[in-house]
Amino acid sequence: MITCSQATRQLWEYLDATADEATRQAIEEHLARCRVCCGELEFAGELRRFLASSAGDQVPDGVLRRFNETLEELGP
């Protein structure tokens, strides 16, 4: 069985579904027996949601006006 450090190193790849089949199986086998790594996995998921939910910036009015001026000046 893989070690905790091997498992945690690939948890995000596992969540992102970019891990290959053999890695997936090894991680799942490890998770079935290791509560600490289950906690790691859960937290990795929370951290992902945390990053995804951090709000983007609105374009300030003045900046938007200058972008539109640039666009109007383009072309023939």
Binding site: T8, R9, V59, F67, L71, L74
Partner: protein
């Protein structure tokens, strides 16, 4: 065919091109600006302006309208790279080895900053406002910040980012991995230096 007719067609075509570019750009501006803010902070306006000019010059290279948003994003990333080189400190090799082993999950469990909580990991994340998150992301070296922002904040696939940056998928995955680890470590350091945890525990 008379010369004047060809000229007229060319002018028409160019006007049409410019109009199509304006439509695409206007629709994508909010997204481009938001990505640029995360990648280069205060230089975002300049990076987007660079992007608009460059993209318009190359607009004929865009073959499929559906690819427009990703095409604009890849141009924006290059403009951000040109502007953002100075931002973000590159970690030393020693630090990187240390970072490979860092686990924010275990660090929080071990330091136990919220002794009476049964959801201390969520409590930890709750201490961060959007300004704090932005500050932590800006501390990542640009090399790692680009894939982290595009994949985890803007929802691109690692494969799409590899195409935009013109590097192999494995390179993007390796940078994502290291970027995440650095981000975890910097979240902890930021909470520590900005007293987020002590304030919360009071």
């Amino acid at each position: 065919m008379s010369v004047s007719l060809v000229d007229a067609e060319t002018v028409d075509d160019a006007a049409d091109q410019a109009e199509r570019f304006r439509t695409l750009a206007r629709e994508q501006l909010p997204r481009l600006y938001s990505i640029a803010r995360r990648l280069v902070g205060r230089d975002a306006e300049d990076a987007v302006q660079d992007c608009l000019l460059k993209a318009f010059q190359r607009f004929r290279q865009l073959r499929e309208a559906a690819a427009g948003p990703a095409w604009l994003t890849s141009i924006l990333i290059n403009c951000c790279r040109d502007r953002g080189r100075a931002i973000g400190r590159s970690p030393q090799q020693v630090e990187l080895d240390e970072i490979e082993e860092f686990s924010l999950f275990r660090k929080i469990a071990y330091e136990d900053p919220f002794p009476y909580s049964d959801s201390l990991h969520l409590d930890f994340l709750d201490e961060f406002g959007s300004e704090d998150v932005r500050a932590v992301v800006m501390e990542l070296p640009l090399l790692y910040r680009i894939p982290v922002v595009l994949v985890y904040m803007d929802g691109y696939l690692a494969r799409e980012v590899a195409n935009m940056l013109d590097v192999p998928l494995g390179t993007v995955l390796a940078r994502l991995h290291r970027g995440r680890k650095l981000f975890e470590k910097q979240l902890w350091d930021y909470a520590d230096t900005h007293d987020l945890l002590r304030k919360a525990a009071r």
